[in-house]
Amino acid sequence: MSRTITIKALKYNPNSSISKPHMVEYKLEETDGMTLFIALTKIREEMDADLSFDFVCRAGICGSCGMMVNGQPVLACRTLTKNFPDGVLELFPMPAFKLIKDLSVDTGNWMNDMSKRVESWIHTEHEVDISKLEAPIEPDVADATFELDRCIECGICVAACGTKLMRPDFVGAVGLNRVARFECDPHDNRTIEDYYELVGDDDGIFGCMSLLACEDNCPKHLPLQSKIAYMRRKLVALR
């Protein structure tokens, strides 16, 4: 049976001198299998063309549509409206990122800076000769690397992190996961000493207060808790 749902969204344009942050309420008929992304699209098409929110893939792959729904950071495209028994969804943009407008935030530039900061690329002296077969890699090792490579950079771990909100320079779980990803990749010749230089400080691994909201909210269920603990043990063990 169809019901009417209520979506309340923060509207604010920080680039406008006349814009004041305020909540706007929209009421719409829920449809079968309705996701928040579908609901927002409907609102934009039928009620408020000015409402800004981010999306690309609609399938939980691009990581663009992260937002706070009733206080929880989620992907709008993977959030079913039927999972909210009272039919009320209160939307805020993800904190920690630069607000563009309404529910739209700039995760891209943040992720780009983070990637440069943790030098998120393979460091090797090895010259690739494409005429030769690649050296084989143990399947377990490859799986471990691919597992961490599933990160879609949605920023949910960053928005969920109380440490990051208090301390804007904190690298966040996404950055620490990236370091762990290269650490287990045999193609990368960096040593633990090298990784220490990237995240061995209070804005890096030692700033993490183990609040675990990153782990609990990651839409890709990455093993962030284990990997952060692993990197911490490795970096602390350095002499």
């Binding site: 706070m68 929880q72 909100l165 061995g200």
Partner: protein, 258 residues
Amino acid sequence: MSDLIEGFLGKSVEGKKSRLPAKLDFVQSATGLFLGLFMWGHMFFVSTILVSNDLMYNVTKMFEGGFFFEERQHWIDAVLIIFVLVVFFTHAGLGMRKFPINFRQWQVYKTHMKMMKHDETSMWYVQAITGFVMFFLGSAHLFIILLHVADIGPYLSGSRIYSLWPFYILLLLAVEFHGGIGLYRLCIKWGWFEGNNAKETRAKLKKVKWVITAFFLTLGILTFVAYFKIGLEQKDNAGERYQPSAMIKVIDNIKVGS
């Protein structure tokens, strides 16, 4: 000169980061672990009052070299207290680095916690508040004990709890919540007991954490009541030292402490 350059630039002359943050992180955890386990032991020792005054007296005596000396050696307690104080101050100093240090940090964390309703995020706030409370109450307790080290025993400890009961109730709550959450967080932080399924282990650890907190809170409250009762009964004889039953002789109906 190299220290000056490192302090100025934030990296050594070789362009390397200091290893001190790693050490500080480790020491914060190590001191926390020590204090957490120490408080478990402490609670078991003080709760011996629930069995009998004599047992509590004998445990106190044991810590004062009772196995080796006939007389109580209060200096042993004093050394232990000073050691705990040093560990306590170290832990507090290192823990303080994580506190919200300005209005905006406090505001954003509080809003986030209220919105997210996430266990570990809220537990950290409890830990920060109880840690702050213990800066004062924990230090005061240790100083009181250090200055009156000879007065540890059923009667004088009872009198202390009776006269300072609001202080000790607050301290008990702060210790049990801070310690319980802290030990749980240590396991998560370093990946202890993780096994093959970190999520499952964490759920179990959280359950164990609450069971332990409930156990120590119950034991703590019962112990508190026992000391309070002794303090209440002793209020007209304040300052009287406890004489263990084994040392009391009855001569011609006159009770004399030997």
